[in-house]
Symmetry: C2
Subunit: 87 residues, 2 copies
């Protein structure tokens, strides 16, 4: 499946969430990841994420699609994802 994850978490948890999501997906923009996942990997990510965020203060939205070919993606402006922007 194809997955997009957007998050808005408190600053002290940003790096933790970012590093965790990099294990599963590609970083495409500040607080946005996307990528192809198996059902198993998806479940693993979901369970892990729940442990890493604080439900009362943070927000994570996951969009899931069976078929990536049905998603059209358009980027305006500069690419903000990528390893060089993390450090």
């Amino acid at each position: 499946m194809f997955v997009i994850v957007v998050y808005d978490v408190e600053e002290k948890r940003v790096t933790r969430v970012l590093k965790y999501l990099r294990e599963f997906l590609n970083w495409v923009q500040n607080s946005v990841f996307e990528g192809e996942l198996t059902e198993g990997k998806y479940k693993e990510m979901e369970i892990g994420l729940k442990k890493k965020i604080k439900i009362e203060n943070d927000s994570v939205i996951i969009y899931q699609f069976e078929d990536e070919s049905r998603v059209e993606k358009k980027t305006m402006g500069k690419e903000k994802g990528g390893i060089e922007n993390i450090l």
Copy 2:
């Protein structure tokens, strides 16, 4: 079509972009909008967005789907969108 817009723009343009996107879509999280658009409205939004951002510094990604029923959405934690958080 169903559309998700995520943006990462310089602080001085955040309010401008946010207000503009509210004319077309629903605010679901910090820097994330989603909603149903006609082809015409989509084009209008795209043209307007290009004028509002600075291509060299800002980033906007638009994900587009023909059919919303093929998108599954899961929210963890609190809802961060909504008018009360804007002001």
